[in-house]
């Protein structure tokens, strides 16, 4: 690579990087990686709540992407294609490694149990005062089934019909699990705030 052609990895336009990557261009691969690494890694980190696993899954997601990049036809956004692949990789790798990706049915609680745990009318509203770090911690504390649906819907922006297909459940189940995840997070955030308030 001559100096005239050398580009900063993260300044190469995506479309050009894709075409070059199909030809095996190392800089193109790196450019695509840097363009999308944060989103993919963040997804892996939140789904596993473990840095080492997240790094491993991020590697595997990108490797699978790069192996198949020759088949990308440009019919959908590259980021959509990559992201969907990353989700599938994480779920598959979690199953392979025996890490808990509990089927959603198992995390089902009755409505009464869910609402019974939540604070009543005398609690302060969360709105406008959610600490992002506390939210991250609370997400990590969610049961795996709740966490998966919550991340895919509220963080990553998938619709319920897409989540149902990815995870292998019904749309109704996806909505139910999302609601329960949010309810659980509400409880965790309020508890966290209560603990913080008692500290000097």
């Amino acid at each position: 690579m001559t100096g005239a052609r050398k580009l900063q990895g993260d300044k190469l336009p995506e479309a050009e990087a894709i075409e070059r990557a199909k030809q095996g261009d190392a800089e193109a691969f790196e450019a695509l990686y840097h363009l999308h690494k944060r989103r993919v890694y963040s997804l892996c980190l939140r789904m596993t709540a473990n840095t080492a696993s997240a790094e491993e899954f991020t590697q595997e997601a990108f490797l699978q992407l790069f192996r198949k990049i020759g088949t990308f036809r440009g019919e959908s956004a590259f980021s959509t294609w990559l992201h969907r692949m990353a989700v599938n990789v994480v779920l598959m790798q979690l199953r392979k490694k025996g890490l808990p990706v509990v089927p959603l049915e198992e995390t089902m609680e009755t409505d009464e149990e869910t609402h019974k745990k939540e604070p009543g009318a005398d609690d302060v509203r969360l709105a406008g005062s959610i600490d992002r770090l506390q939210l991250e911690h609370a997400i990590a504390d969610l049961p795996p089934g709740y966490r998966t649906v919550f991340l895919l819907h509220d963080v990553e922006g998938y619709e319920h019909n897409e989540i149902a297909k990815i995870v292998g459940c019904s749309i109704g189940n996806s909505k139910s699990q999302l609601h329960k995840a949010r309810m659980r997070l509400r409880g965790l955030l309020k508890s966290s705030r209560a603990v913080k308030a008692t500290k000097p």
Binding site: N88, M92, R95, K96, K97, G98, K165, G168
Partner: protein, 282 residues
């Protein structure tokens, strides 16, 4: 009287023979307690491995050794179980033969490797990973889990497998897929023939590719698919009245076709370098 004595003699001879055979075999049994979504690995150079579901949270492995040239190594950590055949000096495919029968919880993931096989897995919901050289692989009645198979020359048959990713790589082994559906079904074969009988359902991505092996796919008239078939040097036959689609693929008579059926829910690619491709209508 003579006849009765003769029958008695035969029975005694059979019993003696059975006892000799039993003495020559060495049967070992392993039981492991596991949690949900356990991970079980069995590596056996020569001999069959058969996996079935069990009730409860126990893994039961029965190994029959045919000589003292083989030992069984096992390890158990949490919900991970690993069993492998350890061959001693002087072992060969006959003396090193070990037969495994394995029962696992239905949601367990299993990884089975045997050079000669056969390998069989049925009625499981976890991921299934099979690897063999010439092993005949038979997988049936699986759902929800992913299936990954690698074979050099052993034939592979999947029957009634659904709702997971299916990825098969074969050099010379024939691959038969009967009622196999899922979000991803990908077969990469060299000279091994690929036979698919099913409806390409589930809105999945189906990719059947060979170098020289033929591809024969049989689907019902109601199949909903977006088909692309191409053989660079082989013949291509289509029995379906496909709706044409805009594609950059040059449709040369006899070597490529593309089109849709129904709502084109599934993507179906039948690609070969020099094998014959036939999309049949059931």
């Amino acid at each position: 009287m003579y006849r009765r004595n003769r029958i008695a003699g035969l029975i005694i001879a059979m019993l003696l023979l059975a006892s000799v055979v039993a003495a020559a075999e060495n049967r070992k049994e392993f039981r492991f307690r596991v949690h949900r979504h356990a991970s079980i690995s069995v590596i056996n150079q020569f001999g069959p491995i058969s996996v079935k579901p069990s009730s409860g949270h126990e893994v039961l492995i029965t190994a029959i050794l045919h000589s003292d040239k083989a030992e069984i190594d096992s390890s158990h950590s949490g919900s991970r179980v690993s069993v492998s055949t350890h061959l001693l000096a002087g072992a060969d495919p006959d003396s090193g033969l070990v037969e495994y029968e394995v029962s696992v919880p239905a949601d367990a993931s299993v990884s089975l490797r045997s050079a000669t096989g056969p390998i069989r897995a049925e009625k499981l919901h976890g991921d299934v990973i099979l690897e063999g050289n010439t092993a005949n692989m038979d997988v049936r009645d699986l759902s929800d889990g992913h299936v990954h198979i690698k074979t050099l020359d052993g034939p592979v048959t999947l029957t009634n497998v659904s709702d997971g990713h299916v990825e098969i790589t074969s050099v010379g082994g024939e691959v038969n897929l009967i009622s196999v559906t899922g979000p991803l079904v990908h077969v990469n074969s060299n000279s091994g023939r690929i036979v698919y009988v099913g409806d390409f359902g589930g809105g999945g991505e189906y990719s059947l590719m060979t170098h020289t092996g033929d591809i024969e796919a049989t689907a019902p008239a109601y199949a909903s698919m977006d088909v692309l078939a191409s053989s660079s040097q082989g013949k291509v036959i289509n029995d379906f009245p496909l709706q044409p689609v805009h594609t950059s693929l040059v449709e040369r008579a006899g070597s490529a076709f593309a089109g849709t059926m129904g709502k084109a829910a599934s993507s179906v690619k039948l690609l070969s370098f020099s094998g014959k491709i036939h999309l049949k209508k059931r």
